[in-house]
């Protein structure tokens, strides 16, 4: 309806409030900065007497690796015979030493785990050395987008290891990484990654512009960014592809997509994307093309089933009994016999029950979660049928629908799919099949206008591009995939050097 067609507006939410509450960004002098930092217990600043001079070393203790500091900084400082800061620099075993007078930079770096060394007489100057504590999670196997075959690495919560995971898969000089800092308070670093010569500059500009426009105090996770950068933030559909798999990011980059990594988030974002990509899994590329295509079709069919099964049940049983085949009608009637609710109420309660079960399962620890699933699914299901509260046919449909919805590889799309059935259900209860048709129409109208980074969201279908259909419903073999997806408008279209193979005759 109307909220679907709304144009993207520039976000200015939290602009003023963030400005008011944020600490004043205006440490005029170094003294103010030090006063400010000393308020916290974990700030260390002490004087060291060297051979020829005295320096002050300052750092935020939890952010730095003490061992590194002692090994690489203190030891060399004590050996040094320099008399000024400039002379001190060559004595240190660092290739990049930041020598600055800028108070703002000092503050920023101190808070990111650098050590500040100042001359006692001349405090305005300082050198910054990186001694960041490298604690964090080890690279682990993917949990959300699990795949049976293929790489078992997933992103972690720090930017550098994540960039390493991408870099090591793309050892080319054309790989570009740009950094943008977003978030008034969190100062989250966002790495924008693309391949020069493939990715379209227009997409890149759109994305960086939108990132720069973000004004918000906290960016904890990449999912914040998805919503802030989205073309239509009222849409139930995710408009940037999120993945925890570095291999998927790399294959996206190679196609000409632009990826984003947010420091502190284990999910990478990619765009522009299309709706079909949310339904493709890594396994689609690991198996032979017809197997992969068959499984992808099953996945798409199960999405349709999970959205439409209960609405159709409600519509047919409430208004269109003529549709039921004569051999099935006895089964359906006798399963409905004695149930006190109309089909809509029955179906609605069952759907809600499933959602409650799922919600409970997600919030609980894994092992308890499984128990809840079994208890909920089997006990409640059987009991409600025997108590004559639901028909067993509906129970099968709801169960199948829930199961089918979980085949969607992408978690965000998975949520969308599960939510979509409720408007359909309500429309079916009121207007039968016509209601379902109308509801479908509204969703199609919304999808037709939806865009991902300015590119059409349902691209291979509309605008219709036959070339991009090779990786939509089916995945054709790799030698047919010679052209990069046209939706991304890549600068370099061909991914294969295309030589035509001659068809060989028998016995040649």
């Amino acid at each position: 309806m109307m909220w679907f067609t709304r144009k993207r507006k520039k976000r200015s939410m939290g602009d003023e409030t963030a400005g008011r509450q944020a600490p004043a960004d205006s440490e005029r002098s170094l003294a103010d900065l030090f006063n400010d930092l000393r308020q916290s217990k974990d700030f260390v600043s002490r004087d060291h007497a060297l051979k020829n001079m005295t320096v002050r070393i300052s750092y935020v203790k939890p952010l730095i690796d003490t061992e590194t500091m002692h090994r690489d900084v203190t030891r060399y400082l004590l050996k040094s015979e320099a008399a000024t800061l400039e002379d001190l620099i060559p004595d240190l075993p660092y290739t990049t030493v930041i020598h600055t007078k800028d108070v703002k930079e000092m503050k920023e770096k101190l808070l990111r785990g650098y050590v500040l060394i100042q001359e006692n007489q001349n405090e305005a100057n300082g050198i910054l050395l990186e001694t960041v504590a490298k604690s964090g999670r080890q690279v682990d196997a993917p949990e959300v987008e699990f795949s049976v075959i293929g790489p078992k690495e997933s992103f972690v919560e720090s930017l550098e290891p994540n960039l390493y995971l991408i870099r090591k898969r793309l050892p080319i000089s054309e790989l570009r990484i740009k950094e943008v800092v977003v978030g008034k308070l969190t100062k989250s670093r966002i790495a924008v990654i693309y391949i020069e010569g493939i990715a379209n500059k227009e997409n890149l500009n759109t994305l960086t512009q939108r990132l720069k426009d973000i004004q918000y105090d906290q960016v904890i996770d990449s999912s914040f960014i998805t919503q802030m950068v989205a073309d239509n933030n009222h849409s139930p559909f995710p408009q940037l592809l999120d993945t925890e798999r570095p291999d998927r990011v790399v294959s996206g980059l190679v196609e000409g997509k632009i990826a984003m990594l947010v420091d502190g988030s284990p999910l990478a974002l990619m765009g522009p994307t299309t709706i079909v990509e949310f339904f493709s899994a890594f396994d689609d590329y690991a198996l032979t093309w017809y197997l992969a295509s068959a499984f992808r079709m099953i996945r798409l069919a199960s999405v349709a089933f999970s959205v439409l099964a209960t609405p159709l049940y409600v519509a047919v049983l409430t208004y269109h009994y003529q549709l039921i085949p004569k051999s099935l009608i006895g089964t359906i009637i006798s399963s409905r016999m004695g149930i006190p609710f109309p089909p809509f109420v029955e179906a609605f309660f069952m759907e809600i029950t499933i959602e409650v079960l799922r919600e409970a399962g997600v919030r609980l620890p894994t092992k308890v979660g499984q128990t809840i699933g079994i208890v909920g699914g089997i006990v409640i299901g059987t009991a409600s049928v025997q108590a004559n509260l639901t028909s067993n046919i509906l129970l099968i449909l709801v169960g199948m629908g829930a199961l089918a919805s979980f085949t969607t590889p992408n978690y965000k799309m998975n949520n969308t799919v599960r939510l979509l059935r409720f408007p359909f259900l309500i429309a079916a209860a009121f207007w039968g099949l016509i209601g379902i048709g109308a509801c479908f129409g509204l969703i199609v109208a919304h999808l037709l206008t939806l865009k991902s980074l300015g590119r059409p969201y349902i691209e291979p279908f509309f605008p219709y591009r036959v070339r991009d259909l090779k990786d939509a419903f089916v995945r054709l073999p790799y030698n047919q995939q010679g052209i990069r997806p046209q939706q991304l408008r890549p600068l370099d279209t061909w991914r294969l050097s295309h030589k035509k193979k001659k068809g060989r005759d028998i016995d040649e």
């Binding site: 509204l442 109208a445 279908f461 219709y464």
Partner: protein
């Protein structure tokens, strides 16, 4: 005088194929077999083709008109008749476009009430359809082309249902050939051209085509596809029902679905009528879009508002066509106006433009 449409609102000419196909296949295709069979019986299939040729000629004229005029109907009218008369003619055309929107909406609601929901109120159904239509029109011309395209895709599976009646087909019904007089045939041609309407919207959306020269080819293909469909949907009921029976059935295309039986579903017509929503939507959207675009170009009204007003107006207007006779009358009236618009007005415009250009050229030289 050229109308400039920003490129990202334009569509590639290839879509004209789908635009014309889906626009021609509207509510008319559901019931034309009866009317046609009453006039020309077993020779009807020839009539469909002959009428197809006429349509192609008109389409050719339309393309020539627009190419020479370099814009849409409004620029055409203005350059040929001046501002006031031209504007008045455009307004009349806008009225006709809105009327064809009304016909589509009212007929669909009539079909749904007869087949599926005999007790459902007119208001409810028409408002639902209007809301869906609005959501498409609000997305702009590209979105309308989208639903055009998708409607062709969605209705493609319906073609398979035509195999079911063929099991009981009696092909002798197509015999004998050439059993009707030329006068009958002409009458038949006129009857069928009443259904071949909807491509007149081209007069409004022509500037939205990316390469208009290329579009011509696709336009003609689109019409041929539609004619092929009409032919198919004519022959299948003709071999399934016999002539006398066909004369009694109001919507033969829908009646065919009654016998489609799948293991998991019987009585396909309920699904069919629902899917048909997607074949009438392109017509409705394009009609209202054309009408509102005309008023926008004339008076500079905000199109969002005019679309809303027009939709509300046709929903209310449809209420007054309370029974089948009135609906049929409405259909006939609109079809007749369309007939004169396409087969009289367009040729006149074409000739007038040719003469005017010749005269102007001579004056320019002299």
């Amino acid at each position: 005088m050229r109308v400039k449409v920003p490129e990202d609102h334009q569509v590639s000419p290839f879509f004209l194929l789908f635009l014309f196909e889906s626009v021609l296949v509207g509510v008319g295709i559901l019931g034309y077999q009866r009317v046609l069979s009453q006039v020309t019986g077993s020779d009807s299939w020839m009539v469909v083709f002959i009428a197809g040729f006429c349509v192609q000629i008109i389409l050719w004229m339309m393309f020539r008109l627009l190419e020479r005029g370099g814009g849409d109907l409004i620029t055409l009218h203005e350059s040929l008749f001046g501002r006031w008369i031209g504007g008045f003619l455009t307004l009349a055309a806008a009225g006709y476009f809105a009327l064809s929107g009304l016909v589509v909406l009212r007929t669909y609601v009539e079909i749904v009430t007869v087949w599926m929901f005999p007790k459902m109120s007119y208001w409810m159904l028409s408002i639902i359809v209007a809301i869906v239509a609005y959501s498409f029109i609000a997305g702009g011309f590209r979105s309308i082309v989208g639903i055009n395209f998708l409607s062709v895709i969605y209705t493609m599976p319906l073609l398979f249902t035509l195999f079911f009646p063929l099991k009981n087909a009696d092909y002798y019904n197509l015999l004998p050939y050439f059993n009707h007089s030329a006068a009958d045939m002409l009458k038949g041609v006129q009857q069928i051209t009443l259904c071949y309407e909807g491509f007149e919207f081209l007069l409004m959306f022509y500037p939205f085509l990316k390469e208009p020269k290329q579009a011509r080819k696709w336009g003609h293909y689109g019409i041929w596809t539609a004619i092929f469909l009409y032919e198919l949907v004519l022959i299948v009921p003709q071999v399934y029902f016999n002539e006398e029976e066909l004369n009694h059935i109001v919507w033969p295309s829908l009646a065919l679905w009654e016998i489609v039986q799948l293991p998991f579903m019987e009585r396909f017509e309920y699904i069919g009528v629902t899917i048909w929503l997607f074949t009438i939507l392109p017509n409705l959207c394009l009609a209202i879009w054309s009408a509102s675009r005309a008023t926008k170009r004339l008076f500079g009204f905000n199109q969002r508002v005019t679309v809303l007003i027009m939709l509300i107006a046709i929903v209310i207007a449809g209420y007054f066509f309370k029974n089948r006779q009135l609906v049929n009358q409405l259909n006939m009236t609109q079809a007749l106006i369309g007939f004169y618009l396409l087969y009289a007005y367009i040729p006149i415009l074409f000739i007038y433009q040719t003469i005017l250009q010749k005269v102007r050229k001579r004056h320019g030289q002299g």
